[in-house]
């Protein structure tokens, strides 16, 4: 079964797009280097800001004919073919493919109100083409909107990036509850919250260390922590240059932390 990782949090600026793009590239590269039978990874950008699309493809001018918006508006029977046709190759790696976002997604939710099967408009077509991929990574917008719900319905693993700040960590349980509500409400037994990624961790700040310790000792959240990504200038500069953190600065601590997270996720993929 192809694992579908969705990076979600209703808080903005926590590193969803950064994590989604770098993890997607990492998965593809590691699978390739290990000689895996399939190393293709699909990145789906559901955020109308299209940051993940921009950094991986160098463009953000996708529109009504060549983006996720096109898929959402397609007829049910042709949606899978439309999705397949809208996928483009990333500039990062030939095996990293991208279903680009479009600013038009902003209005898509409004257009889809009352449309039949609207919440399944990503999962249905994706299920018909995902055997082509070793893994799928979905980047979401910073809200639990219809598009995020669509992404979660299509997913098998929800990963929550969070900054080590008090208010963010306080909201973590509510994020998990919301994801579980979606899983139970739409009866998607495959979906589970499979990880929390602490981003922008600065070990020089006492508050960060304290919060990380608190999280680790939490009976539920502690078990879910699957990666800690240090705050690192390389991450911001990599984005500015439309590069992954791995290629921008392979020696950066953030690069190594993301690589470790990639391995953790691959381990889960293999172990089921």
């Amino acid at each position: 079964m192809t694992h579908v990782f969705v990076f979600t949090n209703h808080k903005g600026g926590v590193g969803k797009s950064t994590s989604a793009t770098n993890i997607a590239l990492g998965l593809s590269s590691v699978l390739k280097s290990t000689g895996a039978t399939n190393s293709r990874v699909l990145l789906i950008d559901t955020d109308s800001q299209a940051h993940a699309t921009l950094v991986t493809t160098g463009r953000k001018d996708y529109g009504s004919q060549d983006s996720l918006y096109t898929v959402l508006m397609a007829e049910r029977q042709s949606a899978a073919k439309v999705m397949n046709d809208c996928i483009v190759q990333s500039q990062w790696n030939p095996d990293l493919h991208v279903l680009p976002a479009s600013p038009m997604l902003e209005g898509a939710e409004r257009e889809l109100i009352g449309a039949a099967g609207a919440p399944y408009r990503i999962s249905d077509p994706l299920s018909k083409i995902m055997s082509h991929y070793a893994a799928v990574v979905i980047d979401t917008r910073p809200s639990f909107s219809l598009l995020t719900e669509m992404a979660l319905i299509a997913a098998t693993d929800a990963i929550i990036p969070v900054e080590p700040r008090y208010l963010e960590t306080v909201g973590l349980l509510s994020v998990i509850t919301k994801i579980n509500d979606i899983r139970d409400g739409w009866r998607i037994p495959d979906l589970k919250v499979s990880g929390i990624v602490i981003t922008k961790m600065d070990s020089r700040i006492k508050g960060h260390i304290q919060l990380l310790d608190d999280l680790k000792s939490h009976p539920v959240l502690g078990k879910l922590i699957c990666g800690v990504i240090p705050a690192n200038e390389a991450v911001s500069y990599a984005h500015n240059n439309h590069q992954s953190v791995f290629s921008y600065d392979p020696k950066a601590s953030a690069s190594k932390a993301y690589a470790e997270l990639v391995v953790t996720l691959i381990r889960r993929m293999v172990q089921g």
Binding site: A36, Q77, Q243, R267
Partner: protein
């Protein structure tokens, strides 16, 4: 914008992850166990050089030249069937009509055209898939390049077309537009595998076997098997090749052809000498190699006509042999001249060598009555007068 360094990324990830992944996990990632996957129909395509033709040649070529979508190709087939059905006063409002049992089955079934039989079989298969599911997955090769996803069918083209029928032509099918497939890595795909699959199941037509023989020969002689549609001249290149130059492959080739002898292999290959039209008709009507081997001996311009006669009169191998031998003995005689006319011509030529007395003796010995002999001669006079008149009218014309 600086270009991303893919190698640098790979190096880092490889160095960081090697010891973390461990050998066991790596082995699992390299798992080559055969798996059945449901693939989107649109991403699956038949192999254009597959020796077995499922669709009629014209539709086959148009489909592989991207002039027709799968749905359009099936619609063309349905239209051909509709015309054939109307000519026989059979109802045809939907493809499901083909499954309706005629009142007098023995009478009507025998009259079905090859296209009707083909479509009926496909519809039957589609209905079986609808009712019982597809038990036997297709075998496909992943030939995707970049984001152009494509799976080339190695075996199972009939199931592919049946699934399209189910999706677009059969109401209440609930088809989700996917098809179960076993995906074979490109490296392990080969013409030998395909040949074994082709010959081990329901078998190929004689023409299919000829194409199969050609593909195997071309392959072992280093010719590249193309991924685009080819005409019969491509297969005819094999006529200049044989097994003698490739002893090491002889057993493998004969085994892939279903364990036939070298003799039969050679016979199948020689069918490629048939004209294009003859090849198409013979393939469509599934004519036997035994019938076709005599047709090959005729001049190429007579192939199609002879094959049409085989189909029309359901000629046996013996009859075909006799007809072809006669035809090849006298290639100068116009084919539209009847056998009786030819015999009469022979008689007239022989008249110079027979004396009148000899002829009278022969007639009396055959008829035993002078009056009957006179009556026959009267008829002959009359006939000769009519021949003279016919000749005169030809000269005027």
């Amino acid at each position: 914008m600086p270009k991303p360094n893919v190698q640098r990324t790979s190096n880092l990830l490889a160095s960081v992850t090697d010891e973390m992944l461990g050998g066991d996990l790596t082995a699992k990632l390299q798992d080559k166990t055969i798996r059945v996957e449901r693939l989107l129909l649109e991403l699956v395509r038949p192999h254009p050089v597959q020796p077995r033709r499922v669709l009629p040649e014209r539709i086959h070529q148009a489909f592989h030249q991207q002039q027709l979508t799968p749905t359009q190709a099936l619609r063309e087939l349905a239209q051909i069937v509709q015309v054939a059905a109307r000519q026989q006063s059979r109802p045809f409002t939907s493809v499901l009509d083909l499954l309706t049992q005629p009142e007098d089955e023995s009478e009507t079934t025998s009259e079905l055209s090859p296209e009707e039989t083909l479509l009926r079989d496909l519809v039957n298969l589609a209905v079986t898939i609808r009712d019982d599911g597809q038990v036997n997955p297709l075998t496909v090769v992943d030939v995707s390049e970049g984001v152009s996803h494509l799976y080339r069918i190695e075996t199972g083209e009939r199931r592919y077309w049946a699934t399209w029928l189910l999706r677009d032509f059969i109401p209440d099918s609930n088809s989700d537009g996917t098809i179960p497939c076993i995906v074979i890595p490109t490296k392990t795909a080969s013409v030998f595998r395909q040949a074994k699959e082709n010959t081990s199941r329901s078998g190929l037509t004689a023409i299919g076997m000829a194409r199969q023989a050609a593909l195997l020969l071309l392959s072992v002689h280093g010719h590249e098997i193309p991924n685009y549609p080819v005409d019969n001249d491509f297969y005819r290149q094999a006529l200049e090749l044989d097994l003698r130059g490739k002893h090491e492959f002889t057993d493998t080739i004969l085994a892939a052809m279903g364990g036939i002898s070298k003799f039969h292999f050679s016979h199948f290959k020689s069918l490629l000498n048939l004209s294009d039209e003859a090849l198409e008709v013979a393939d469509r009507h599934d004519l036997d190699e035994g019938q076709l081997r005599y047709v090959v001996k005729l001049p190429r311009e007579h192939h199609a006509e002879m094959i049409t006669q085989i189909v029309q009169f359901n000629l046996t191998v013996k009859q075909v042999r006799e007809m072809c031998d006669t035809s090849s003995d006298r290639p100068q005689v116009e084919p539209q001249v009847s056998r009786a006319a030819k015999q009469l011509l022979k008689f007239l030529k022989a008249a110079e060598e027979v004396t009148p007395q000899e002829f009278v003796t022969a007639m009396l010995s055959a008829e035993h009555d002078k009056n009957v002999v006179r009556a026959r001669l009267q008829s002959l006079y009359q006939y000769l007068i009519e021949i003279d008149q016919a000749l005169a009218s030809t000269e005027k014309g």
